[in-house]
């Protein structure tokens, strides 16, 4: 296969420039902020930062916290940031006993960090995420709370470090609840006073990708109908090898004769995951981390589990509950419990593998960019920041190239494992 070298060079150059420009943008954006903080610090002999009347500081001192920054950038948000632009998204909140509420997140009037300077109907925006004011005496409607009114404090609850968000309003500290999560306290969440059903950044990205894939595949299907016997053209020629690769290497070997029945499911799974993986890596588009969200991968894994379970044949359940050829004490004490656990561990690993890989990749990229701020002492040492940014561009470039590979591999692995689980469920054994 001949590769046109100039084309490769041209794309490499474009990619390099894009990465470099995105760095400069990020540096300007954070640089202003750091400058404001450091000049403020100089006024107070380098001890204090922008603190509000309640003693909370919405900016993390002079230290750059790479971990917190990374988590902020990979989490789901109620606002969509592209560069300096904020696209308000619909907020849909449900409070048990009070009912459903719907409004635009533009009402919060968020700054570059996603911290809102206004409260609306007892909701505020902190770090791009909506929080609910717990104080029942707080007035409803649109209330101006000022720029530095929200801050985060760490508290230890049951031996776990939990960050709590506070609001400073007329000199009072008011606790703000995060949204409810059904993680049973495993990730520091749990049931709170409100549920968030908003069209968040991740949901918007999912809609976009689903729409894009539908348009693309309808066009391709039409092309196959209209151009019978002709060579594929355009987007058809791009998708056909990928489609055929999944069909020949995943569906047919694992699913045997009934591969056509599962083809729609496997292909939807593959292209949905691949599309979202790739969409999250485009610079300047908000970097929505959909497949790195545990809820999304949970639903995908549950779908795979349902497909495996409802298609399970007699032989499959026989192997789970009554493994042939094993003496009965070992069978019922060891093999059957292990097999039943295996039923649930399979989708669990599917869920964690995709989540872990995407989160790790996105976090490493953010931390490589964060090196600039670590070595630049968050704006105090511009020379070191500029020096580090040269190395950081190359490290990020390297990481993004690896992530491009990981995006394909993880989509492929999710599909191939789902196919192998379904294949094991529908397999018919002739003899033992």
């Amino acid at each position: 296969m001949r590769v046109n070298l100039t084309v490769v060079l041209r794309y490499t150059l474009i990619f390099f420039l894009t990465t470099a420009v995105s760095h400069i943008g990020a540096q300007d954006h954070h640089g202003d902020d750091a400058h404001a903080t450091s000049s403020h610090g100089a006024d107070n002999h380098g001890e204090e930062h922008a603190t509000n009347a309640c003693g909370g500081s919405s900016h993390h001192g002079g230290e750059f916290d790479a971990g917190a920054t990374a988590f902020h950038h990979i989490s789901d948000q109620n606002i969509y940031n592209i560069g300096w632009f904020h696209f308000p998204l619909p907020c849909i909140f449900y409070v048990p006993g009070e009912g459903l509420e719907m409004f635009s997140s533009g009402k919060f009037d968020a700054d570059a960090h996603g911290n809102g300077s206004k409260a609306y109907n007892r909701y505020v925006l902190f770090g791009g995420q909506a929080k609910r004011i717990t104080d029942p005496n707080f007035p409803k409607g649109l209330i101006g709370i000022g720029d530095d009114a929200l801050w985060e404090e760490s508290a230890t609850v049951d031996g776990k470090k939990v960050d709590k968000v506070y609001l400073c309003y007329e000199g009072n500290r008011i606790l703000c609840d995060p949204k409810s999560t059904l993680d049973f306290g495993l990730f520091g969440g749990g049931l709170t006073s409100f549920h968030d059903f908003s069209i968040t950044k991740n949901v918007v990205s999912m809609f976009l990708i689903v729409g894009l894939l539908s348009l693309m595949f309808i066009a391709i299907a039409k092309a196959y109908k209209n151009r019978q016997g002709m060579a594929p053209s355009g987007i058809q020629g791009f998708i056909e090898p990928i489609f055929e690769f999944i069909q020949e290497d995943v569906s047919k070997p694992f699913l045997g004769d009934s591969w056509e029945r599962f083809q729609p499911f496997l292909m939807s799974l593959f292209f949905f995951i691949l599309g979202l993986n790739l969409f999250g890596q485009i610079p300047f588009l908000g970097g929505s981390n959909v497949t790195g969200n545990l809820s999304v991968t949970l639903v995908l894994a549950v779908l795979a589990f349902i497909m495996t379970t409802i298609n399970g044949k007699k032989d499959y359940w026989g192997h789970v509950f009554n493994m042939p050829g094993v003496p009965w004490p070992i069978k019922y004490l060891v093999v059957t419990p292990v097999e039943i656990m295996g039923l649930f561990i399979k989708p669990l690993t599917l869920m964690l593998r995709l989540f872990g890989n995407m989160v790790a990749g996105h976090m490493v990229i953010v931390i490589f960019v964060g090196l600039i701020f670590i070595f630049g002492k968050n704006g105090a040492n511009p020379a070191a920041a500029w020096g580090t940014s040269i190395g950081s561009v190359f490290l990020t470039l390297f990481m993004m190239a690896i992530e491009l590979l990981v995006a394909f591999i993880q989509a492929f692995v999710f599909t191939i494992l789902t196919a192998s689980y379904i294949g094991a469920a529908i397999e018919v054994h002739d003899d033992h």
């Binding site: 495993l186 990730f187 290497d249 995943v250 070997p253 669990l348 690993t349 599917l350 964690l352 593998r353 872990g356 890989n357 591999i409 492929f412 692995v413 191939i416 494992l417 192998s420």
Partner: protein, 67 residues
């Protein structure tokens, strides 16, 4: 201090996964060298096996951070 212990746990999990994936990759290379015509099947199975090993390591890493 819990953070430090979690980091050690994550590191141990990575050692295990590294050994496992290294074995898979090495054996796959040997197999491809012995039978170059079977490269497609070997590659698909290699990725499948590596994904399974990696799954165990990821569970260990996540558990070490969250529990």
């Amino acid at each position: 201090m819990t953070g430090t212990l979690a980091a050690v746990g994550a590191g141990l999990a990575v050692i295990g996964a590294g050994l496992g994936i290294g074995q898979i990759g090495g054996k796959a290379m040997e197999a491809i060298a012995r039978q170059p015509e079977a490269v497609g099947d070997i590659r698909a199975n290699m990725i499948l096996m590596a994904a399974l090993v990696e799954g165990a390591a990821l569970i260990a890493i996540l558990l070490s951070f969250f529990v």
